[in-house]
Subunit: 362 residues, 2 copies
């Protein structure tokens, strides 16, 4: 089993092969390729010819070992299938590509364990930054582990960026790019209340997810501001998917059928809710109004088009990448000074056709 340098070796060509074949030193080849050192035209031509002949490409691992290499951002996403996250990822990727950075997407499958494992894996890859997408889990232990990762990434010269979740507590070296989650929910609920709705079915999402908590809080605050008593019995937690929207409405129609509007924690949940109402013979928005959250493309494709809260997901992705890029430029200079560690982007209600003033029913 001779491993090395068989005559007709099938492995990839190395810089040494190129050098040998061109009759020059490896240093010269490296210089021709990286271009940061003057080389004679003759040498360049000779080397490039061999490079083409051998179809040589430099080994990225070796390059980054030797100090060079392209900065890479890792994007950790719960579910590649989620439209909102996909938009953030696109924002990050676009901004990364602009700077010649590489980006890498990992999927956690909604599993906190896997998320932590991936962060670790990224650390091994020596990425410039890890961007974590989506709501955090509100367990103490989870938060603690996250903080530990932030510190250890920082120690390794990398950096943690949290997108779409609240910042970590305490003095943790992480950047957060967030949006006005609670404010959006407040505005959305106000929209419903000002249309005259009083009995509102609230489907905020999973109870342990920080985004769901914020959206619920925003709704509560709106009720308070309007002087309308908030009935906790009208809140139904559950996953961010259309099945939950469907089943929650189905159950509610039996248990508390007097609601005139549904405040969904997500456009997808709203879509499920809409199906359930229709299956029960109710019209939207004539009989029941519905609003969503996120403003993913689906929102405008539903019938009726969904009134929802617009979240600047793609912009958040761009901002997140810019944050880590800037921090890199700043370098050792002002490491601590201008932390600017918590950026918050605005949200706003997009009014479409899924809300009408309530009518007495049944």
């Amino acid at each position: 089993m001779s491993q090395r340098k068989a005559a007709g070796d099938v492995g990839r060509a190395t810089i040494r092969d190129v050098a040998e074949r061109a009759g020059v030193s490896v240093a010269s080849v490296s210089r021709v390729l990286s271009g940061n050192y003057p080389v004679s035209e003759d040498l360049r031509r000779r080397v490039m010819k061999v490079v083409r002949d051998l179809d040589y490409v430099t080994n990225a691992h070796a390059r980054s070992l030797a100090g060079g290499g392209t900065p890479t951002v890792a994007i950790l996403i719960n579910n590649i299938t989620g439209a909102a996250f996909a938009h953030v990822a696109r924002g990050v990727e676009g901004a990364a590509a602009l700077r010649g950075w590489l980006s890498l997407v990992g999927t956690t499958g909604d599993d906190p364990e896997r998320e932590l494992a991936l962060v670790n894996m990224m650390r091994q890859q020596g990425v410039a930054a890890v961007v974590l997408l989506g709501g955090a889990y509100d367990y103490d232990e989870y938060q603690l582990r996250m903080a530990r990762f932030a510190r250890s990434l920082d120690a390794a010269g990398s950096h943690l960026v949290l997108v779409g979740r609240p910042p970590l507590e305490g003095d943790v070296p992480a950047t957060t790019v967030d949006y006005d989650n609670e404010g959006g929910a407040y505005a959305m609920a106000s929209h419903l209340l000002s249309a005259g709705h009083r009995r509102v079915l609230v489907l905020p999402g999973p109870a342990e997810l920080t985004t769901a908590q914020g959206r619920l809080r925003g709704a509560e605050r709106a009720f308070e501001a309007y002087g309308v008593p908030f009935d906790p019995g009208m809140v139904r937690h559950g996953p961010y998917d259309d099945e939950h929207g469907y089943s929650a409405v189905e159950t509610a129609l039996h248990e508390t059928p007097d609601f005139t509007a549904v405040l969904a924690g997500t456009d997808v949940v709203a879509a499920g809710a809409m199906q359930a109402l229709r299956a029960a013979g109710l019209r939207v928005p004539e009989d029941v109004s519905i609003v969503g959250y996120d403003d993913i493309p689906l929102a405008s494709q539903l019938t009726p088009q969904l009134t929802t809260v617009h979240v600047p997901y793609e912009e958040m992705g761009r901002v997140a990448l810019r944050a880590v890029a800037d921090r890199r430029e700043g370098g050792a200079g002002r490491r601590k000074g201008t932390d600017g560690d918590h950026l918050v982007l605005g949200t706003h209600v997009v009014v479409r056709n899924s809300v009408q003033p309530p009518v007495t029913r049944r």
Copy 2:
């Protein structure tokens, strides 16, 4: 600017640091960590303690340089926002994670140039395989370049997998995982024809995309089989997005308003078409029937729920990964023999509520 080993060095810890601090040799540390060599319990304990203290992780680049390292699959996707591709990606990632492989997603932004650039970049990364998602462009030059990449990936010990597009012509070392694209379109069109529709607006997608071509061909064959003349004037090409669906229907309502059904090349296009019909005061499916293609979640969230062609996207992703994994196991043994280079998965029509027999209109 002293680079190396300052006392309070902030860089990541190396295996040498661990060895020194534990009072053992680097070899011992490596053995403890990789676990493929017997070590005494005492040694293991000592090393592990230091590893924890220093929060050490092995450098993935160095490891893969030295021959070890985790196999990595690169997934190249046109648009991370496209639901169908996202499902394939999820399939690949799931199967990869199962084997302990890493996966990496790159986005081409529908730009053939960038796609080729990314393939090259992946080659540098030394990935085990490159999975290319989505329809190919039907330019000769493009196909040729793809073939070249397939060969050069193969020469570098990697492998190209084409998913959801027809195989490359000639003797090219690439695996193709495809679905019965034309057959699905045939079945879908037949469904419409057997319901009695004769004047059908066809929105296959971009003319230069192979998937769109296949879907159009399937439809034509169905018309032929039913003995119904196929009117090329009813075909409108355009991008795979809802805007195209909307504007195409809008125009068609002026130019050829006698159609009783829309055969969309994609569920998203169907969604756009549905909006346009409704904006024109037409009901779906009472006045006009609509069918889509892909069966992404959107299809069942629309009102009415969309009759469409189910494509096993996630399964395709899994199959694709299995194909490269198997090929790796097979190793040098039977490199050429069992090529099994072209796998085709079945499609089927999913009947929902967007089709009705036609009624005379206007």
